[in-house]
Symmetry: C2
Subunit: 157 residues, 2 copies
Amino acid sequence: MATEIERKFLVNGDFKVEVEASQRITQGYLCSIPERTVRVRTKGDKGFITIKGIGGASGASRYEWEKEIPVGEVNELLALCEPGVIDKTRYLVKSGKHTFEVDEFYGDNDGLIVAEVELSSEDEQFEKPEWLGEEVTGEVRYYNSMLMKAPFNTWSE
Amino acid sequence: MATEIERKFLVNGDFKVEVEASQRITQGYLCSIPERTVRVRTKGDKGFITIKGIGGASGASRYEWEKEIPVGEVNELLALCEPGVIDKTRYLVKSGKHTFEVDEFYGDNDGLIVAEVELSSEDEQFEKPEWLGEEVTGEVRYYNSMLMKAPFNTWSE
């Protein structure tokens, strides 16, 4: 299993002029406890079911199983999910040799925009776009499974 | 959605001479709350993932989604499941125009044998085989999701 290293940032500025591609993502969780998550998601015109195990001590490596399923079946399964479906657009934005995934949230998380970049090591350098704001890597409240339970519009600060 | 009517009985006698087919079933639950269950199962040489919604007031009709997946993937996912995997052989036994599904359990449920017959209405008649014992339809402790949490070998009577 590959070890993923991802850094997450807020977005302060106009990234949209640099967007290379975008997809609407709607997702819900049938199970979202730390030991295992069962997620259903539509991503553009495709549907997926994804099961993840518990993370290791570092949180970096995690068993993941995913199957593509018809969008109609995802929509049926979304009706069964825990309350708090996540709805967002994911934009891909190049920055030097890296590509940022920028998630713009809707619904109860409206106003939240988060950018992630995947690195091959923790000290790998990358070009910081002008619109990149404060780093929030590892902050639990920005996890999608948390944004569902405690959405952005309920944050007090 | 079809309404299933099933009656469940204990087994007191030798049903095995009448068996038409049998399959080993191993299954676990990624989620087993009343609102939704996510089950993975090997049945003979096939694998399945099954998601069920909450039952209606009668408990008779329930949303069900199922996909066949490779046995190797079921085995990976079983490792992620809640404690208490169910292991049993399912035998098909004809009785008149009906077919009984007889489940012989192993492991912590060793000694338990249960027979189910599917009917098209609650008052539909069926031939009772000699080995058919006490009716246990609707008794929650015989549900597979309960046998996992409170297996037969922990029952006091």
